[in-house]
């Protein structure tokens, strides 16, 4: 088992494995996506208070979850890469960052589109939205730092430290923003606390979240493959690849 793990922890063996895994995760993403959309648009009833506008939550909640979850996963891989010096884990962290940033952006975008009809304003300085914005900044910082460092190993390690510092800080930031929000009696936006959350609504949300999850895995695997080719272009195994040989 140990040998097996080690084997697939090297880019050479992981590259074809990832290639085989991508279609499966993509298919799962489509499956969950279609069923989530069907539940969200055709099964879930109209909300008594928010009308049809509430249907935005089907993607908003999933995107917010993914943006936070991906940051944790990214920090996890980065720290593994830092402590065990495994190249693949660090590459995985770099591959996850753009997708996480995209979900953070989507969460903000859908939040704003929800807020306009419900609150009459595109942006409220609500604790969650503000934290999400800061999370987006953290992602952008990570991506910018890695892009600015030419030596890949140094970029990996520096990014890992930043991700770890970020992970320690996210709860502190969230707590402080919440504290600030209650002190200023600001608006509290809650998309999820609809008075009567129908079971079908919850299920639709869950399906969409699963769709995003599977999508993220597929996309991260695809990106990590590209990163492997870029980074390992002098290795023997890369030049032996079928797609390179042809």
């Amino acid at each position: 088992m140990r040998m097996l793990t080690w084997k697939y922890a090297s880019p050479q063996y992981f590259y074809p494995l990832a290639g085989k895994m991508i279609p499966w995760f993509a298919a799962l993403a489509v499956l969950f996506g279609v069923s989530g959309l069907w539940l969200g648009f055709f099964v879930a009833p109209t909300d008594a208070q928010q009308g049809e506008g509430y249907r935005i939550i089907f993607i908003h909640v999933g995107a917010s979850w993914m943006s936070m979850f991906i940051y944790l996963v990214m920090a996890f891989w980065a720290s593994i890469g830092l402590s065990f010096n495994t190249r693949l884990s660090s590459m995985m962290a770099s591959a996850l960052a753009p997708t996480g940033a995209m979900f953070a952006f989507l969460s903000l975008w859908t939040g704003a589109l929800w807020g306009k009809p419900m609150w009459g304003t595109w942006w409220v300085w609500d604790a969650r939205l503000t934290s999400e914005l800061i999370l987006l900044f953290l992602y952008l910082g990570f991506i910018a730092l890695q892009a600015a460092i030419d030596e890949p190993r140094r970029a990996d390690k520096a990014g890992a430290i930043l991700a770890l510092v970020g992970v320690v800080n996210v709860p502190i930031i969230y707590f402080s923003v919440k504290w600030w929000n209650t002190l200023h009696q600001g608006a509290s936006v809650s998309l999820t606390q609809a008075p009567s959350m129908a079971k079908t609504m919850l299920l639709g949300m869950l399906m969409m979240a699963l769709c995003f999850w599977m999508y993220s895995i597929a996309v991260a695997l695809a990106r990590v493959r590209a990163i492997m080719l870029e980074r390992e272009r002098n290795s023997e195994w890369v030049t032996q690849l079928k797609e390179v040989q042809s």
């Binding site: 030419d150 030596e151 272009r233 002098n234």
Partner: protein, 205 residues
């Protein structure tokens, strides 16, 4: 005794060297040569523990330097390309501060004496930015006089030095080796150190 086995170094896409090994005994020194860009400085930085090697291991008295930590750092004095001098501080302040980092208390009178020995008598109270390149290098080399480390790792120590200073450095090195010390140095000019065992290590570009 310093032992290196199967050292490899990669910079960017380039493999600078691989499978490099040597043993350095007390009282001996290594003359490290090679063309520009062959990895001399990289090797020295690996040997002192600043950067980890891509592969291989370095043993100090039989123990890997990674597990020795501060004990190894105490045993090494390193002088890189840069002089590690603060332009705003005087020569003697620089010398005392450098010693303080290594945990050695240096009195001002001692610093003055050491600076006089490297030929900077009367200039010890001048901010370093007023000194010439060669004089700055001599201030940097004066650290060898307070160093209690058995292993000296010097990157191009002779650069910018005049004939008198070169002679002084060769003598200082000879004394250090005679007392059972070790040294590794790179140089573009021929170096002769009286009564010592020399190993030449050539890095191919």
């Amino acid at each position: 005794m310093l032992t290196a086995t199967h050292l490899a170094c990669v910079r960017g896409d380039r493999r600078l060297f691989a499978g490099l090994g040597f043993t350095l005994e007390a009282g001996a020194w290594i003359y490290l040569t090679g063309e520009n860009g062959s990895g001399k400085t990289s090797l020295l930085r690996i040997l002192v523990g600043l950067s980890p090697p891509e592969a291989g291991e370095i043993l100090w008295q039989g123990t890997p330097i990674t597990s020795l930590g501060d004990d190894y750092r105490k045993a090494v004095t390193y002088l890189g390309h840069h002089n590690a001098l603060k332009e705003e501080l005087t020569a003697s302040e620089n010398l005392c501060m450098g010693a303080a980092l290594a945990g050695i208390v240096l009195e001002k009178s001692e610093a003055t004496k050491m600076l006089a020995e490297v030929g900077l008598a009367g200039r010890e109270e001048l901010p370093v930015r007023f000194l010439s390149q060669g004089q700055k290098r001599r201030v940097a080399l004066a650290r060898l006089l307070w160093s209690k480390s058995p292993l000296w790792v010097l990157d191009e120590p002779f650069v910018a030095l005049d004939a008198a200073a070169v002679l002084w450095l060769a003598e200082t090195l000879a004394e250090h080796l005679a007392a059972g010390g070790m040294a590794i140095l790179t140089s573009h000019q021929e170096v002769a150190i009286a009564g010592s065992t020399m190993q030449t290590l050539r890095l191919a570009a």
